[in-house]
């Protein structure tokens, strides 16, 4: 096993999957000649040629719309959106077509495309390089959504997404793209969608998160005196409801951490599931620690926006005292 960063793990997955299946191709802005602005696609153009690692025109709706047609021609396009907020122009194609086209053919055609993008804040970037857009994706019927938090999952989940017969959106935590390193299995490696990852076991309280908020929860768990369970959702749709409910049943106290703005974020969905299915297990309220319902701010104050270890610790404290 090699020690890789998240972005290296993504790059590794792409190499392995393009090698394995000649119908996999990468499409996006600057993915070819430059190897991606984060170098997630570095080396692909040299190895697989400019057709299978295609520098597209600057048009996100065009990228995703073209990908729908590529699927119809038998390709499995992996589309890169350069940044989270620059994926918004593709929402129309995603909602009106990507999520519906299979249904529209009476289930006869498959649309095995992947949309992957770096997401999230904390990187000291100008505005619109910092969004956590998962709600827009996870609310959309017909697509699946996954957000890995470790290098190994970044590789395995992307591979699963590429092999999946349905459209999958993968958000990659750019804050940890290069800084978070870990062991990553070499060669083919798949982490199935729909399974949460129990990061650490505990009895008093469960911290639920995904992507860049998992390390925050781990740090909070380190700081806390209590016995803290940390659950990495990692696959938002399909969701591992069993893992969520099992942990809630065990600890009876749940704090959900999400970087996106609060209203209708994925933490709301998780809390709603708990309110419906775990109400008798709960020893206290389900708390959410989230980004605020405001535009992602100027980077000089972005740390105050991002859910911090202190905010998570505070929420757990409240819950334990409840």
């Amino acid at each position: 096993m090699a020690e890789l960063s998240i972005v290296e793990a993504v790059n590794d997955a792409l190499h392995v999957e393009l090698e394995r299946d000649p119908s996999v191709m990468v499409v996006g802005e600057d993915v070819g000649r430059a190897g991606g602005v984060f170098r997630a696609t570095a080396g692909l153009r040299d190895r697989f040629g400019p057709d299978r690692c295609f520098d597209s025109p600057l048009a996100e709706a065009g990228i995703l719309g073209t990908a729908v047609g590529l699927c119809m021609a038998g390709w499995r396009p992996v589309c890169e959106m350069q940044y989270d907020a620059f994926s918004y122009p593709c929402l129309d194609q995603l909602i009106t077509h990507v999520g519906r086209y299979r249904w529209r053919t009476g289930g006869k055609m498959q649309f095995p495309l992947v949309v992957r993008m770096p997401y999230g804040g904390g990187v000291r970037a100008p505005e619109l390089h910092d969004d956590s857009p998962e709600t827009y994706y996870v609310h959309t019927p017909g697509v699946k959504v996954a957000i890995p938090s470790t290098p190994a999952d970044a590789k395995g989940i992307l591979a699963a997404a590429i092999r999946d017969p349905d459209p999958v959106v993968v958000l990659e935590p750019k804050l940890h793209y290069r800084t978070l390193k870990g062991e990553v299995p070499e060669g083919e490696y798949v982490v199935p969608l729909g399974k949460a990852r129990l990061v650490r076991e505990g009895d008093d309280v469960t911290l639920v998160a995904y992507g860049s908020m998992v390390p925050v929860c781990e740090a909070a768990a380190d700081e806390l005196d209590a016995s803290v369970e940390v659950l990495d959702i990692r696959s938002l749709k399909p969701l591992d409801e069993d893992a969520l409910l099992a942990s809630a049943a065990k600890t009876g106290r749940v704090v959900i951490v999400q970087e996106a703005p609060r209203t209708c974020g994925f933490a709301a969905e998780l809390a709603a599931i708990l309110a419906e299915k775990a109400i008798l297990d709960l020893h206290g309220p389900v708390l959410r620690v989230t980004g605020y319902d405001v535009p992602y701010p100027y980077w000089q104050i972005e740390d105050a926006y991002m859910p911090s270890v202190a905010r998570v610790v505070d929420a757990v404290g409240k819950l334990l005292e409840f």
Binding site: P57, G65, A67, G69, A73, G74, H97, T105, K108
Partner: protein, 355 residues
């Protein structure tokens, strides 16, 4: 300042007219092909006229009328090979009939019944695109993807004059140009987008002018002249197949019917103009051409018409004979591999519907 050569502004025509322009012949179209083309137009016309009746009778839902658009659809479709892909908008909902799709499929679509959803691969015909222009990139992607695989197929995408204002049209056209995709961008310029006239949609002198900005050829053709449409499309197909990339075809017609059955155009369209345009409607024009050429006579015309009427009668019968759709279908087609929650949702729904 960039300008389009005025010589290119004229609409291509093959069929002569009362104004003294003579009929021309189109290379490669023998008597059999010419009659096939007529058969296609009559089938489409019959589909359309019957559908308006069926709608009035409450047998289909809202319906987008394509009367006087048949020449564009038939002319373009005949310029393709069966392996070529068609990307229709709602205006070309019945174009599948020209690929052997039974009328009941299309009628079922307008009846909101799942029997109206087909496998695009069965006819090399994409699903009907309801949102304007969003299928243009699909067609570009398919055409490019086929080319990348070394296949012979090209694609055609139909859209309206209004569609040229959408970003999706622009991005799809540019993608096709950049990838030199074998694509025909076929613009049905019927001069109205619901109630919005062409001059409120664009300041371009012609819609074909838009081709310039993508570095692709643009052609203008009389959209009520099926032979001109055929010829221009075939040239575009040849170009696509020989690796020269996409072509924009602007076919000009006039929407003489309401936008759809729900629409009342009296508020915004000049009815005199409509009556004027109806006189040169495309099926009649072509019928005149064939009769002048001695290819069509009363008996043959009548039998082609009654064949089409019969097909529609059978079609609506078959559509209405479809068993009611099962609510379980709600959960069946969204995913190859659906989330676990679908099972319990369906169980609950069945319990409640059963009770």
């Amino acid at each position: 300042m960039a300008q389009v050569l005025p010589a290119e502004r004229d609409l291509r025509r093959v069929i002569g007219d009362a104004d003294g322009v003579g009929d021309r012949e189109v290379e490669g179209l023998g008597e059999q092909e010419l009659l096939d083309l007529f058969r296609s137009m009559v089938l489409l016309r019959t589909y359309d006229e019957r559908s308006v009746v069926y709608h009035r009778q409450g047998r289909i839902g809202t319906y987008a009328i394509f009367w006087n658009h048949e020449a564009m659809q038939a002319g373009a479709a005949h310029a393709l090979e069966d392996g070529d892909w068609i990307f229709p908008s709602y205006r070309e909902s019945a174009i599948g009939l020209l690929r052997g799709m039974p009328p009941e499929t299309v009628l079922s679509w307008w009846r909101g019944h799942p029997a109206g959803w087909w496998n695009p691969e069965d006819y090399n015909l994409a699903s009907i695109c309801v949102p304007i222009a969003t299928h243009v990139p699909h067609a570009a992607g398919l055409a490019w993807g086929k080319k990348l695989k070394g296949e012979r197929a090209c694609a055609i995408v139909f859209f309206g004059d209004g569609a040229t204002s959408e970003g999706s049209f622009h991005e799809g056209a540019n993608f096709a140009a950049v990838t030199r995709a074998p694509l025909i961008l076929f613009c049905n310029n019927n001069q109205w987008a619901i109630s919005t006239p062409l001059e409120a949609q664009t300041r371009a002198e012609t819609l074909a002018d838009k081709a310039v900005g993508y570095g692709m050829p643009g052609a203008r053709v009389d959209g009520t002249d099926v032979l001109a449409v055929y010829e221009a499309t075939r040239e575009a197909v040849d170009r696509a197949r020989s690796g020269d990339g996409p072509t924009f075809v602007e076919a000009v017609t006039y929407r003489t019917a309401p936008h759809a059955t729900a629409d009342d155009p009296r508020a915004y369209i000049d009815q005199e103009r409509v009556e004027e345009e109806k006189k040169r409607e495309c099926v009649g024009r072509y019928e005149g051409y064939l009769r002048r050429a001695g290819i069509l006579h009363d008996e043959l015309a009548a039998s082609i018409r009654s064949e089409a009427v019969e097909a529609m009668r059978a079609g609506i019968g078959a559509a209405e004979a479809e068993p009611p759709a099962d609510p379980g279908l709600l959960f069946e087609h969204a995913y190859v591999d659906p989330p676990a929650s679908f099972g319990s949702d369906l169980d609950e729904l069945r319990r409640i519907l059963g009770g």
